[in-house]
Symmetry: C2
Subunit: 407 residues, 2 copies
């Protein structure tokens, strides 16, 4: 991988060679993959991309941490739609508003980008088994991508995990362990087993390549906008890996000269669980918080990637905004109705943040904004049922129908 | 639309001009859209397609019933992945087996192809409201595509419809009526309202353009296989519109010279509800049946498109096979585990049929087969939970974990 200089600890700056199964720094810090952009620029540009007919995240392979001859064997991830939403732009009072719908990925979330990368790196390194602990989309995307690639998986979830997500995992044939204990205990058991059996480790707190997969969402946004950088990219934030990936993807595109500036990132967290935004807003170190939000995919009181996330907000001159669960519910219905995109609660949180900023008069008018939907509403249909309430009932009687709809 | 000769009744042969809001023949028969293939051939070929970077079903617009200047405004539908599944090919004892995963469409089913077409035709004809009666994927795909395009929808479902599907519909802002009565009564009320208010009609039994949208799944299969026609295409069959579309798409590609023969279609129905297969197998007219299958999307005892469906099987020298609900459940787990594709029960029924034919020694070995997955497993998570059973529970104890997994 001569397009990569090294992996560098975001905490202490120590560097490492980019081995396929590298994990964290000696100091405990997470690593960042450092590319040789000057060299990449000589062979990667708009014309190369325009000729490439790969409709997946791997079309940006010059910017990805894989060997030149690696053939990814996971699912067909990425190149999700970017929809312009004029009605929403008008309502928010901005020039242009785009929705990036990552809920149409193969297992229905943005996490597929990280899992496809993990599976690819595991195979590069010669592993036949891959493991992680997670309660949600990371686990199901790993199970799906590994099934496609023919890898075995061991996945650890707390036994309180939602049954729907467990069913999706089990369908994919994962060796699933429901740990009777907290998430911390679940993580500990996964660590003990991974250490003993030497499986490939897909834990997001550990593996530096996962946000390198996620960053492709930002590559796509740039290409889909014909390399006109938007002014803002809004993203929901839980453990910090996704926002870190979004920033990295934008940074990549800027460094290879495909966009002329890095958009400002709008970091949206749930008011009931916002350790990263709190740290940035108060200019202090992050501190653990309670997990008081129904948006399960971002209910992360102890974020696993706080350093990269906080850097992403600061380095992009970003904006932080926190939203209530009611504001998330409102955004879910608003987005489905006005853009035809049905996101899970965490998936629509970025849009909820934009709605709040607009209400508070904090959204500059003459701007272009991209809002990322990170997961499909079908992932959490129980919440959706509670949000929409009961439909209008009617007998087979046209007069009754007309009266009920005021026709 | 000078690439269309006329619309022709499949029952009596009477022809009509292809108006955007045409419905059925005077005799009650459904219409088929007849193209001028000789003219289309002169401007539509492999090279034209290779240069086209539209990643949606509209890339085949020369073969679609839309005006030359029409710009579709629904969701980004189509160009779903076609995965080669070597392990499944080996298990089935065939040369090559491909899975076409249509569950990754925007509202998670193949029905998006029909709804995107309906929305486009409604706008062409100047309508601002579109209506249908349905219990499932047709309704949610209409609601989503119409929301994106800014059309109003009136959707009628029987009040017994699954709550999850109702929630998805309501999210998209559909004017939803839950009719306290049978499906027949629901259909009657929708018809009365559509007749009175003149809304665009997206009922599959009525609108000849819907299977023209669905047929793009077959166009894509041909293009994704580099125009080497497979020997068989397997598809699950309920009301008959999807299999009719699949045949039409293959026929199109044959008539414009992009494939050299029409693949044989394998029609798979649930044993508890198989009026179309029964008619073909017994060489008699179709008769209504009970709806005894848990695969709700194909539980259609009175199919709405029996003529086109039966013709598709006969004209392609097709094969009929019926599967039990247990065989569908087995196929769902097998497909997710071995291909990484999690389909809804009706969505995996085609694969269940292939497994059965293979077990019975009826699948020729030296063949290439495509199996279409018509909907995402997340659409029916309750069935999935019942199928996979309980996960293995464990404390935070490595020895206990090892014992339970035999490590």
């Amino acid at each position: 991988m001569n397009h990569i200089i090294h992996c560098k600890c975001v905490k202490c700056g120590r560097t490492y060679a980019p081995a396929a199964d590298i994990t964290i720094c000696e100091c405990g810090g997470i690593l960042d993959v450092i590319y040789d952009y000057e060299s990449i620029k000589t062979r990667f540009n708009k014309e190369v991309l325009a000729r490439r007919d790969d409709p997946t995240m791997w079309r940006y392979r010059e910017l990805l941490p894989i060997e030149e001859d690696t053939v990814p064997t996971g699912l067909q991830v990425g190149m999700s739609p970017l929809y312009e939403a004029q009605k929403i732009a008008e309502d928010l009072g901005v020039k242009r508003l785009y929705i990036k719908d990552d809920g149409v990925n193969p297992t229905a979330s943005l996490k597929d980008r990280a899992s496809a990368m993990a599976v690819t790196k595991a195979i590069e390194a010669g592993y036949d088994t891959i493991a992680c602990s997670s309660t949600g989309n990371a686990a199901s995307s790993l199970a799906g991508n590994a099934a496609k690639a023919g890898l075995k998986t061991y996945i650890f979830v707390p036994s309180r995990a939602p049954k729907g997500k467990i069913a999706q995992l089990m369908m994919f044939g994962a060796n699933l362990t429901a740990v009777d204990g907290s998430y911390e205990e679940t993580f500990e058991l996964s660590k003990a087993a991974i250490d003993k059996y030497g499986w490939y480790n897909r834990n997001a707190a550990i593996n530096p390549y996962l946000s390198e997969g996620k960053k492709t969402v930002a590559h796509e946004i740039c290409e889909q906008l014909d390399f006109n950088a938007p002014d803002f990219v809004a993203v929901s934030v839980g453990d910090g890996c996704t926002i870190a990936g979004v920033y990295k993807g934008l940074y990549d595109m800027y460094r290879v000269g495909l966009i002329d500036r890095i958009p400002r990132i709008i970091s949206v967290q749930a008011q009931g669980c916002c350790p990263i935004n709190t740290a940035v807003m108060n200019g202090e170190d992050w501190r653990p918080q309670e997990e008081n939000t129904y948006a399960d995919s971002i209910a992360v009181g102890v974020p696993r990637n706080p350093d990269k996330a906080i850097n992403a907000i600061k380095d992009s001159d970003g904006i932080c905004v926190n939203v209530t669960d009611d504001e998330i519910r409102e955004a879910q219905k608003y987005l489905a109705k006005n853009a035809g995109v049905f996101g899970e609660p965490a998936g629509v949180t970025a849009t909820a943040g934009l709605m709040k900023l607009s209400r508070e008069g904090k959204l500059p008018h003459d701007t272009t904004i991209v809002s990322i939907v990170t997961g499909n509403g079908l992932k959490d249909i129980d919440s959706a049922i509670r949000s929409v309430g009961e439909p209008i009932h009617c007998g087979n009687d046209l007069a009754e129908f007309e009266e009920k709809f005021g026709l």
